[in-house]
């Protein structure tokens, strides 16, 4: 069975899957809207959570949140399931396809043969849509691919049952019932309020806008604390999280700016348009930061001055973002 499905290339896997699934059910919600309503924007730096010896940095909220937030806020009935048995997980997926329900899956990119080797690391928070099955071949709409692709059942099973954080455990999610029309205005308000809350309020340094200032302080210490090979890897990982797979550029900041612009039109609030412009500028600062960081990586330098400069650039971004969330919070106060 192959469900007729309209695949569209998107910037980010989860907001892309969400937008593509919603369109299938007749709700034309763009990727930026899905990202904003789903409160996708975030920042965290976790020096104690290391993957391959490198501290974790993220520019987005944790996996699964965007889809469930969007569904709840738009009044969509959805289901998200995990199965400890891989056999059962694959069987339930097949049943879904047979019933004509395109189904989102959390997978590891390491086991996706349609991606080039160069991207295939143990990154377990990728999302794609399964929309068809013919014997042991599954038809896939992966939002970061220009065209639809196919995958063998064995590979898909491995990808769904990959180990390591965040473990997919065969998680699949799908829409059961969507309303004919959705109240976008209220959903936008809820999405924005949660993002402001998550960015501004964590009292610990590793999450939200404070984590940007925290990372700025950490980077300053790299030349004394780390050998240059390590420092280069630490910095390189920050760039990769910001730009590599599916962020729409500048660690989702451009995607969020696009959301604010669309939200300004829908809600008729010009203030959101001004904030969109500010977020675009903040995104440009993040791009400059990535560019300077890459230059230091290339030179493999432990030159104190260059690390100090990076730290300063981040501190500037921290101040701009902090001010931004204060203004954004006021729009709905």
């Amino acid at each position: 069975m192959i469900i007729p499905f309209d695949h569209k290339l998107q910037a980010h896997c989860e907001s892309g899957v969400t937008s593509n699934l919603l369109r299938h059910y007749g709700l034309p919600v763009s990727e930026p809207l899905a990202f904003g309503i789903g409160s996708g924007l975030f920042f965290a730096h976790l020096p104690f959570v290391k993957v391959n010896g490198v501290p974790g940095t993220t520019y987005r909220i944790y996996p699964g949140q965007i889809f469930s937030n969007v569904c709840k806020r738009l009044g969509i009935t959805y289901r998200s399931e995990k199965f400890s048995s891989a056999q059962k997980g694959m069987q339930r997926l097949s049943e879904n396809i047979e019933r004509g329900t395109p189904t989102g899956c959390q997978v590891s990119v390491f086991y996706l043969p349609f991606l080039p080797e160069v991207f295939r690391f143990h990154f377990n928070a990728h999302n794609l849509i399964v929309y068809g099955q013919e014997k042991n071949i599954f038809h896939i709409s992966d939002p970061v691919m220009e065209e639809v692709v196919q995958i063998e059942a064995e590979d898909l099973q491995k990808a769904r049952y990959a180990k390591g954080y965040p473990e997919p455990k065969g998680r699949m999610y799908y829409i059961e019932k969507a309303p004919a029309q959705a109240d976008l205005e209220t959903a936008i308000q809820k999405g924005i309020k949660q993002t402001v809350f998550f960015m501004k309020s964590p009292p610990i340094p590793w999450f939200g806008v404070n984590a940007i200032s925290f990372l700025s302080k950490q980077i300053k210490k790299y030349p004394q604390k780390l050998e240059s090979r390590k420092a280069t890897l630490y910095l390189g990982n920050i760039i990769r999280m910001q730009e590599e797979i599916g962020t729409g550029g500048a660690g989702f900041r451009f995607l969020y700016a696009a959301f604010l612009q669309e939200a300004a039109q829908i809600t008729n609030r010009p203030a959101l348009n001004e904030l969109s412009q500010e977020m675009t500028q903040i995104g440009d600062l993040w791009r400059n930061f990535a560019y300077s960081t890459a230059r230091i990586c290339k030179a493999r330098t432990s030159d104190l001055v260059s690390f100090e400069e990076l730290s300063q650039q981040l501190l500037q971004i921290y101040h701009r973002e902090k001010h931004f969330y204060e203004l954004l919070g006021k729009v709905y106060s």
């Binding site: 290339l9 998107q10 910037a11 930026p32 993957v51 391959n52 010896g53 390491f110 991606l115 080039p116 080797e117 160069v118 991207f119 295939r120 690391f121 143990h122 970061v144 691919m145 220009e146 180990k163 390591g164 473990e167 090979r229 280069t232 890897l233 910095l235 390189g236 990982n237 760039i239 990769r240 730009e243 590599e244 797979i245 599916g246 729409g248 550029g249 500048a250 451009f254 995607l255 700016a257 696009a258 612009q261 669309e262 969109s276 412009q277 675009t280 995104g283 440009d284 791009r287 990535a290 560019y291 960081t293 890459a294 990586c297 290339k298």
Partner: protein
């Protein structure tokens, strides 16, 4: 980022030339948002290339260490599969300290067929390949 600034820097290492185009959100002249695809950006390419260079260096070193009897083949295949001890331990259903021990050749040589098979499965190779790094 403005639409005319979207970089088109291809990845010139590994199979990076096969990388799918990425969708970027960028602004038009009048500041309105639009989309444009990008082949890649030099800053991002450099970070990814350096991560691979690091893996390749580690791979060479571990191959040498296996040859000199300083580590077991598990160490080599772990790096080949871009894993660390934490993630490998999950795949084989062992504690991290157990996997660490299995990286020693003297311990590796005493491992049962059953345990070796778990490692071979995690690396998607045969038992024979697991015992002989080439």
């Amino acid at each position: 980022m403005k639409i005319e600034e979207v970089p088109q820097d291809k990845k010139q290492f590994k199979d990076g030339d096969k990388a799918p185009k990425k969708l970027m959100y960028v602004t038009n002249q009048d500041g309105s948002y639009t989309q444009k695809t990008s082949a890649g950006w030099e800053a991002e390419n450099l970070a990814l290339e350096q991560a691979w260079q690091d893996i390749d260096e580690q791979l060479l070193q571990s191959k040498e260490a296996v040859k000199n009897g300083k580590s077991s083949p598990i160490a080599y295949y772990m790096i080949l599969n871009r894993m660390d001890i934490a993630i490998l331990a999950k795949y084989v259903g062992k504690w991290q300290w157990q996997v660490k021990r299995h990286l020693q050749p003297s311990v590796f040589n005493t491992l049962s067929e059953k345990v070796l098979l778990k490692y071979a499965q995690a690396f998607n190779i045969s038992l024979d390949a697991l015992k002989n790094v080439v």
